[in-house]
């Protein structure tokens, strides 16, 4: 009995730890694919780890006008994102704390991290931070309604907002190609692109102020603070990839009762799917250009329309008597 409990705690802890471990590798895969497709050699796959180590070793310079919020924010942002990423079921559904992974709560945790980051961007009192924070909050107002519609579609289909419950539902259903789920998949991909500041919403490698959103907010950070914020953005990407996998491609996830062997297999499958998703992201980023900021409502609006259509179609195929 206690042995089982210990195993459960270890498994949950392993999920939390592994999510953090794989994040820089996922970013490395994205960068490698982009570089290779642009016929460059690109940075090595493990560069993400080296970047974080380098930033940790460097001195942290803080502006004179910055307050305690500026210094405290990176740790909080990292902790919030890490907890959210660690709650998404990855290699097994039914781990010890899987009931806490409510998708509404997860979205709200990410929202808290974003609000703190936006506040930190405003803290120093320069115009760069203001640009980044104001645009980031605008993009959030576009993406959150779409996310809500996606959650509603999933809840209509699976009858629950617990991520583990949705994953179990989709594993147990025969492979049904439903229009509403296809539409919510596209909508969730667009929302994920918007939230993670990837092309076409934001360029993660730019330093031109007119094109910055995320980079502008973190411009003043350096050293270990920047390391934490970079790690948080890697984790956010892993979170969204993991969410997409959990909801729309959950096959191979170990069930709650599997032992260590089942979990290891699930881990392998999940890692493969995650890195595959990262590779697809790299291909996408190379194929499309970044949009100007005021075209973004049209782009994220597509996610909203698709989300709404998904619900309407779910009503249709779900039948009149729900």
């Amino acid at each position: 009995m206690t042995g089982d409990l210990v195993l459960q705690v270890l498994a949950q802890g392993a999920q939390m730890f592994f999510v953090l471990l794989i994040a820089p590798l996922a970013i490395g895969v994205v960068r490698q694919i982009k570089a290779r497709l642009m016929r460059r050699q690109g940075a090595p796959l493990l560069q993400g780890y080296r970047d974080l180590a380098k930033l940790l070793r460097k001195e942290s310079v803080v502006a004179e006008s910055a307050s305690w919020l500026f210094r405290a924010a990176p740790s909080l942002i990292f902790a919030l994102t890490w907890v959210a990423a660690a709650l998404v079921p990855s290699f097994a559904s039914g781990l010890m704390f899987n009931w806490a992974a409510d998708v509404v709560a997860l979205v709200a945790l990410l929202g808290a991290a974003r609000a703190l980051l936006a506040l930190a961007g405003m803290d120093v009192g320069t115009s760069f931070g203001g640009i980044g924070s104001s645009r980031e909050m605008m993009i959030a107002t576009l993406a959150e309604p779409a996310m809500m519609l996606i959650v509603l579609t999933l809840a209509i289909a699976a009858g629950t907002t617990r991520l583990a419950g949705v994953a179990d539902f989709f594993i147990s259903e025969p492979l049904a190609v439903r229009v509403s789920l296809a539409l919510s998949l596209v909508a969730l991909i667009i929302v994920a692109l918007a939230e993670n500041a990837r092309i076409p919403v934001d360029n993660p490698v730019t330093h031109l102020e007119l094109t910055m959103v995320h980079e502008a907010m973190i411009l003043e950070y350096s050293g270990r603070h920047l390391a934490l914020i970079e790690a948080a953005s890697y984790l956010k990407l892993v979170l969204y990839l993991s969410l997409l996998i959990c909801l729309f491609a959950p096959f191979g996830m170990a069930p709650a009762t599997a032992g260590v062997g089942g979990w290891l297999l699930g881990l392998l499958v999940w890692t493969a799917k995650l890195l595959g998703g990262a590779a697809l992201l790299g291909v996408w980023e190379v194929s499309i250009a970044k949009m100007r900021v005021f075209r973004l409502p049209d782009f994220v609006g597509v996610a909203f329309i698709f989300g709404f259509l998904a619900i309407l179609l779910a009503f249709l195929t779900g039948g009149a008597g729900q």
Partner: protein, 645 residues
Amino acid sequence: MRGRALALVYPLSGLAALALAIVDLRVLLGGGEAVARLPIGLPGIGLHLRLDALSAFFGVVINGGVLAASVYGMGFDRAKELTPRVEPLFPLFAAAMNLVLIADDAYAFLFSWELMSLTSWALVVARHTDPESRRAGHLYLVMAAIGTTALLFAFGGLAGPAGGYAFDTIRAHAPGPAVAALVLAAALVGCGSKGGLIPLHAWLPLAHPAAPSHVSALMSGVMTKVAIYGFVRIAFDLLGPPAWWWALPPIVLGSVTAVLGLLYAVLDRDLKRVLAYSTIENVGVIFVALGLAIAFRANGQNAAAAVAMTAALLHALNHSWFKSLLFLGAGAVLHATGRRDLEGLGGLIHRMPHTALFFLVGALAISALPPLNGFVSEWLLFQAVIAAPALPQSALRFASPAIGAMLALAAALAAACFVRVYGIAFLGRPRSVEAAQAHDVPAAQQIAMGGLAGLCVLGGLFGSVLAQALAPLLRELVGSGLPNADHGPTPFSLIAFDPSRSIYDAPIIALFVAIASVTTVLVVHRLSARRTRRGPAWDCGFPDPSPATQYTASSFAQPLRRVYGAVVFAARETVVMPPPGDTRPARFSVATIDFVWNAAYGLPGRAVLRLSERLNALQFLTIRRYLVLMFTALVILLAIAAVMI
């Protein structure tokens, strides 16, 4: 002598509020009711008073707010502040609000409602030399009169032709469907105007900021909850079993109010007005929750109705806490800097550290961010919306994604709005001399704010305890309460329908975040033990110490203005650039059109003026014409009597 008597007002009000809150808590948790009937009032009817679970819950909300405002008021410097006009009315206002809650007949209710409006009006015009206050008071009086008239009709409809105005009599025979519809509409107008539902909201952003800050906290945080109480009492108690389409007006009006209120807030530059507009949004959210509760109850889905009703009641409680906190903070800022406009603030986190910390808690709470209390009610409301597609009526079912989207939009806009307010007012560098020389407020005011901030944190972590405390009240209102936390994995988990469907466990998540933060900080400090160095901000090599180069409130709002303001307010930006060589400054101006004001106030206002000008001709008739009028009236009366009898 008078001064010394007035100095006791706040401490005594605080003690009275505390005592009342304790009494209300005992009634809420312990069950039971208190009934009284006083011989004053209408002859033969008297004044009925009753304290039941619903009144007790709202009593806790109200007296909590009064307590915080009283403690805040004790911190005023009596020699300098405008207290002699305010202090006598403050306890009267609080007493009137409490009276509304325990009124058990229509007369007592309307009397205390009017008393509440009048005392708050007097507080709004306390600074009567300020034209803004005068205008606010004027509009407030007009809207309050309209609201009370609507409530008069509502109670008239409820009492019926027999004229039984006591609530017991009204409960005994429910009105027919047509009358019930009219009563509901009148109640929505009456209570909605007091709460700030669009299109009856226009007085709120003028009146709430004009009053002294602790009174603004009471008006925004507490008086709006009295309006909510009025609507709940009429719709859930006095009207009897609901019809499904009763849900539509509160839901539609509530969601429009929520989004529009925040769009107004995001574009405004006055700190207190932004908070007033945000109150409108929260009242809209509560009405959406109430509408959903009506819809579920009408269809017999009691579990879902319980979720929606808990969301509404908890949001009322949470909003009273964080909105009072924010208004008290705004009062502190006003006291410290003398300025209310966001464009003149900045950097206050360095000068007013305690206020800044408490205001931050309030801002994060109102943005519905976990693990604070705003998220608890928001989560419950989202769960209710997610259950809405199970409703049989197609209007409600198809409306549910629209409602969900609008609520999500409101939540995101609230976060944007309060990041803006906090970022401009407290962060960054000071934009004016007053902001640069600000100092923190006296201890009493900090204690008031700190207490409310602590309640926000506790309410967030132990939201399930609050929800469980409401269970007996919910059983009375909608027939069932939320599932007990015993069903869940931990003692503090908030369960919406059943544990396999949706759980929100705030303490566990907060624990995880705490563990993660502590681990992070320890590990990072082990790996990188260097201190931080202070340096100048990044300036691309062009050092400019002027704080005018940082983002202003208008510039922060610009993306939102471009995306939403262009559609909703027809916002147009114009830049007038003088030709090169001309040394005049360029001018940037934004023009917005308030369609709601034009349609709901401008149009009827002009119509009323035109009508009254026409009717003015009645002042100047000849004697013969007056006789004609009297003769016509007499003949019509006789004709009606001939037909009816």
